[in-house]
């Protein structure tokens, strides 16, 4: 392929976003919507060659592009992807299409700006996944905060100011330490190239400090316990599309970056601190699941469930075996679909009743049978039922965790019970039973647009549950490479 696919993947959505912005005010909302739809579909299509032309045997970086950018500091526009980044990039461009359709008639004010924010954000996040230059990466990483900040701040709920500031400060303060780490690494290697960092020997103390600096940035994003409290607030206030992108992709930036930066740059520190990381992960799995159980707000419940599921991702990373690591990657992809679907489902209800409180519902199945069928399916996927994508990652991580320590697997497996408990208890209270009140009685079942997006997600959730091979096939060589790299000490 001669086309600069990665550049296209990044800049097509950003360009489309700018174009959508140019439509101006809400008198052109129709145009803005269609333009956004075509832009997002085009952006999705340009990422597909990443899958079709990917060399599954190669665990290194592919589709590389390099241009000199700021020569005085040796900063390059260097892009490249491996089996870890490609699925996440395709997930990002796909989710953007979903988000555009999901916001179609729901967003009535500042339509162009809303759609543009998501398109631009999509390009920036793909940039994060594709950048191989530390400064380029850092710029994408920080830049994507801006559209997200705007989405929650402008189209968000009543308490959006508190939520956005909390979200912004939490993530921003973490990121600053990462910048410090990059500057230190630059001084050691005179380069911002990621591949140079991989080969750079570092003292144990330096590794620990670098790892902790990265940890501050990434743990907030994942989010790991105890720096997770921004997420439920952000989710509750964000519009449906914002929640979808937040859960499906933004959280994965953190997980991805652990594998891309923190662990390979400081492998000895990663091993040394693995007990600490595993502890935090298991706390997330168990503690957060219990917290999810008592939530009264559907979005908060799903937000906590996301944190609990992300615990599996970090757990899988730090047990250092192929099952755990691949399971964690599968879990990231699957969570992208399942959490999107869950948040979209809440959106379907919220658009009709303007409430997210579980207590305001009851017996929705009587008036929305088709929707209830979807909700039960996604609920089951969230509870990790085999045959849905939600099962695959959890299963692999649990199998992997047992190889590290029986009790890791034991604690992680509690999700089988707790995950089912909080998800299905919510399903029961919202969907089953007699019609709860007059508002529920007046509900109308899914419209065609809603039916379409939930069907697409349902097909993916079941498809990857029955046949997850395409994901692991992609990540296989990359994970092997990474584990081999992590097994070697980089001490000075």
């Amino acid at each position: 392929m001669d086309w600069p696919i990665l550049s296209l993947s990044i800049w097509v959505p950003i360009f489309a976003g700018v174009l959508v912005l140019c439509t101006g005010g809400d008198q052109n909302a129709r145009l803005a919507r269609w333009l956004a739809l075509f832009g997002s579909i085009a952006a999705f299509l340009v990422t597909l060659p990443l899958y079709t032309h990917f060399n599954m045997m190669d665990g290194g970086f592919q589709f590389q592009e390099g241009h000199r950018w700021i020569t005085s500091f040796n900063i390059n526009y260097h892009l490249g992807v491996d089996g870890l980044a490609v699925p996440l990039i395709i997930l990002t461009s796909f989710t953007t299409v979903i988000v555009v359709i999901a916001g179609w008639e729901v967003i009535e004010k500042r339509v162009a700006q809303y759609m543009a924010a998501f398109l631009i954000m999509s390009g920036l996040m793909i940039g994060v996944f594709a950048a191989l230059d530390a400064i380029l990466y850092y710029m994408f990483w920080e830049a994507m905060l801006i559209p997200m900040f705007l989405v929650i701040g402008i189209w968000g709920g009543p308490n959006r100011v508190y939520a956005t500031i909390k979200f912004f400060l939490y993530t921003f303060i973490g990121s600053l330490l990462m910048l410090v780490a990059f500057i230190y690494l630059y001084h050691q290697s005179n380069s911002f190239e990621l591949v140079d960092y991989y080969q750079l020997p570092l003292s144990f103390k330096a590794q620990i400090l670098i790892f902790l600096a990265f940890f501050m940035a990434f743990a907030v994003k994942v989010p790991m316990w105890p720096v997770h409290t921004w997420l439920p607030d952000a989710h509750v206030e964000a519009p449906t599309g914002g929640s979808v992108v937040l859960a499906a992709i933004a959280l994965k930036l953190g997980g991805y970056s652990f594998l891309r930066f923190a662990m390979p740059i400081a492998p000895d520190a990663a091993h040394y601190l693995s007990g600490f990381m595993i502890t935090l992960s298991l706390i997330a799995v168990v503690y957060i699941a219990l917290v999810a159980l008592v939530q009264k707000d559907m979005k908060k419940l799903i937000a906590y469930s996301s944190i609990s599921h992300m615990g599996f991702v970090t757990l899988g990373f730090f047990i250092f075996n192929p099952l755990g690591m691949e399971g964690a990657i599968v879990q990231m992809i699957s969570h992208g679909f399942v959490s999107s679907a869950m948040f979209l489902s809440v959106g379907v209800l919220y658009d009709r009743m303007h409430s997210r409180q579980i207590a305001d519902y009851g017996g929705v199945v009587n008036t929305m049978p088709t929707f209830a069928a979807f909700a039960v399916l996604f609920g089951m996927a969230n509870a990790g039922l085999p045959g849905t994508s939600g099962f695959v990652g959890e299963f692999m991580v649990i199998l992997g965790a047992l190889q590290a320590n029986f009790w890791f697997a034991f604690l992680a497996s509690t999700t089988l019970i707790l995950g089912a408990a909080y998800t299905l208890w919510m399903v029961k209270r919202v969907f089953y039973g007699e019609i709860g009140n007059a508002h529920v009685a007046a509900l109308k079942d899914l419209n065609r647009r809603e039916f379409f997006i939930l069907s697409v997600l349902a097909v993916l959730v079941i498809g990857f549950g029955v046949y997850p091979h395409p994901i692991t096939e992609m990540t296989h060589a990359t994970v092997n490479n990474l584990l081999a790299h992590l097994a070697q000490s980089k001490l000075l």
Partner: protein
């Protein structure tokens, strides 16, 4: 792909395709299309299962992969089939009972608005169950395991407006998940130590680990195989409803009766039994695990039987009877008599499905009244239901020559010969269980089919507190509740009675036909593995066996037969002759009655300790951990701290030139003095 492989693939796929079509387009299709499509799918699966059964009888075994699910590291997870005699027996039982239930449903659910949904679910169940029994590896086993759990969840909550139904289905799912928790850990241990999830590979490697130990708790050494087997068995305890994970099964009766027959009696609940039999090469290496299995089974067999005595809901009597019979199968597994467990699984599938479907027929005849105290004398009005129920009950209590006799007597004999720890207690339990079984079975039988026609006079105890759980909500149904004062019970339509007859035939004869080849022939050679030296039970049983006829004749003088007879006679005396006696006992032993009425307190305990405890803990972790500590002190506290500090620093920016000039002079002075010193 050979012809046989195509057949293997078609057997689960036919019901799946039917379920998918009916599930997705059910509302657009006419009702008849829903049942014809699914019945065609299941009938096809049954017919092909017969072909497969004949094929394995020739001694053929198939073990192969259908597709690779995923690979990770060196581990490859595959979807594949293992078709041997154990599988073939299960396939026949599953597809046959499922077919009968499909036909029966046409009559039973005729007026239900969820008609096509119901057919879609039971076909999906058939698919899942077939995938479970046909699996050649642990991963797919777990798949099927959870998939049948899902369908069970959907079907228990089929009438989703009933509060009791949606309580019961959540409870069933969660309790099963507790079992799956252990099961999954067991599977993870298998993968870790044996390096594969493929049955054949695991069974061939496992003997090398016979003496291996693991220390899960530091400074303790446990036998690896014991740990693995017990973890796997915890899964079986959930699915096959063994104490203390049995609590979901009685409540599952909230689902429509056809699925109580199919899922909660004949097939799904026996998945645990099947699984342990399949894992016989592993369990044989741990006598400790076998002892555990036996004791748990014995407790279930006896104590759940007791609860059957005090039930007044016709379905709950049969449900407790199912629990008790599952206990018998589990005891057989513990005694290393795996083939006997599978044999009882098969006979039980027929007569218990029959009893459930007959109960459903009675319920229809009684216009959806399930309280046996309102019945009586039904034999005059429902001839076929009456005769088939009698056959089912006689088979259940172990009447010589009937199917249940051969399987249950073999279990009792096997336990008698077993010498592993716990076998003494188990023998007592299964023997006493015979009396209990006969007593509750015929209590129900007499109260329903004989005696006074009490539906004329029923008013008082129809909504008695005891059955509030089961009774109070049938008026949500499309049907009205119970018979009116001048109504008479009526026999059910042929789609209902035909399955009853079709199930009554194997309930009568299958034991006589199958015992010889299945238990003492070489039917399960190479499939079920028994360490004859350590656990010689089956070997010794074979010595005592001189044909099915001789066994029946010999039984007439044996303890189980006398116990069963005593149970029948006593129930007749108590409930037909002197109904004042049980009433007096109930009054005299109030504490015992209350203990049994509360089902030994398991439900209360779970509700308070586990459900309440989790909610309490979750609430505290959230309120104190997240809201107060992390957000209150750390996050907002930091914000406040910064606010306070900047409040102080703000005073420096007074805007007065002379403040700044003063600060500058001080600063210059300090810097100078610092540099001067050097």
């Amino acid at each position: 792909m050979t012809d046989m492989q195509t057949i293997y693939l078609l057997i689960p796929l036919l019901p799946l395709v039917a379920a998918t079509i009916v599930g997705l387009f059910g509302r657009m299709l006419p009702r008849a299309a829903a049942h014809w499509l699914t019945i065609a799918g299941v009938a096809g699966a049954f017919a092909l299962s017969v072909v497969v059964f004949n094929d394995v009888l020739q001694g053929r075994v198939f073990n192969g992969t259908v597709y690779t699910w995923l690979t990770s590291g060196d581990t490859s997870f595959e979807v594949g089939f293992l078709i041997d005699r154990l599988t073939a027996v299960m396939m026949l039982v599953v597809t046959f009972v499922s077919l009968m239930v499909h036909v029966y449903t046409i009559g039973y659910m005729a007026e239900d608005p969820g008609y096509s949904r119901f057919f879609s679910y039971i076909s999906l169940f058939t698919f899942s169950m077939l995938m479970l029994v046909m699996s050649n590896n642990f991963m797919q086993l777990f798949f099927g395991w959870e998939a049948v759990g899902l369908v069970s969840y959907l079907l228990i909550g089929f009438w989703y407006t009933r509060p009791t139904a949606i309580y019961a289905n959540l409870k069933a799912f969660l309790v099963n998940r507790v079992g799956d928790f252990g099961f999954l850990l067991g599977i993870a241990m298998v993968l870790y130590f044996f390096g594969s999830l493929d049955y054949a590979a695991v069974f061939s490697i496992a003997p090398q680990f016979a003496d291996a130990t693991v220390s899960i708790i530091p400074n303790t050494e446990w036998s690896l195989l014991t740990v693995i087997c017990i973890l796997l068995f915890i899964g079986a305890m959930g699915k096959s409803a063994q104490v203390p994970l049995h609590v979901w099964l009685p409540d599952s009766m909230e689902g429509p009766t056809p699925i109580s027959a199919l899922i909660h009696a004949a097939t799904m609940v026996t998945a645990g039994i099947f699984m342990v039999a399949r894992m016989s090469p592993l369990f044989e290496m741990s006598t400790t695990a076998l002892s555990t299995v036996m004791v748990i089974g014995a407790i279930t067999a006896l104590f759940m039987g007791f609860l059957g005595i005090i039930q007044n809901d016709i379905k709950r009597v049969v449900a407790y009877s199912t629990l008790s019979q599952l206990g018998y199968m589990t005891v057989a597994l513990g005694a290393s008599a795996y083939s006997v467990a599978i044999f009882h699984l098969m006979t039980h599938a027929f007569f218990k499905a029959l009893l459930f479907l007959a109960a459903g027929s009675v319920i229809m005849g009684m216009h959806h009244d399930q309280d046996i105290r309102n019945m009586g004398g039904l034999r005059k009005y429902m001839k076929i239901t009456w005769i088939t129920s009698l056959i089912g009950s006689l088979a259940l209590i172990g009447t010589p020559l009937l199917s249940g006799f051969y399987s249950k007597d073999s279990i009792i004999e096997a336990v008698k010969l077993s010498h592993i720890p716990g076998s003494g207690f188990a023998y007592f339990a299964v023997l006493a269980g015979v009396f209990v079984t006969a007593f509750y079975s015929f209590r129900m039988y007499f109260l329903v089919f004989h005696g006074k026609e009490r539906w004329m006079e029923k008013t008082a105890h129809a909504h008695d507190h005891h059955d509030a759980h089961a009774d109070d909500d049938h008026d949500h149904d499309e049907h009205h509740h119970g018979l009116g004062p001048h109504d008479k019970p009526h026999e059910s339509p042929w789609v209902v009675t035909l399955p009853l007859i079709a199930l009554a035939i194997p309930s009568l004869v299958i034991g006589y036909i199958a015992i010889g080849p299945m238990l003492y022939g070489h039917f399960f050679d190479g499939v079920i593995f028994v360490d004859t030296e350590a656990h010689p039970v089956m070997h010794e049983l074979a010595h005592h066996f001189h044909g099915a006829g001789a066994m029946a004749l010999h039984a007439l003088t044996s303890l189980p037969f006398i116990f069963a007879l005593a149970g029948v006679v006593l129930s007749w005396f108590f409930y037909m002759k002197r109904p004042d006696i049980p009433a007096a006992i109930q009054k005299r032993c109030g504490w015992l009655y209350r203990l049994m009425e509360n089902k030994y307190g398991f439900d209360t305990f779970n509700e308070k300790v586990f459900a309440g405890g989790s909610r309490f803990l979750g609430g505290k972790l959230w309120g104190i951990g997240d809201v107060k500590l992390i957000d209150g002190y750390l996050v907002n506290g930091t914000a406040r701290l910064i606010g306070r500090i900047s409040g102080i620093i703000r005073h420096l920016q007074s805007g007065l030139i002379y403040h700044y000039a003063f600060a500058m002079i001080i600063g210059v002075f300090l810097l100078l003095s610092l540099f001067m010193k050097v």
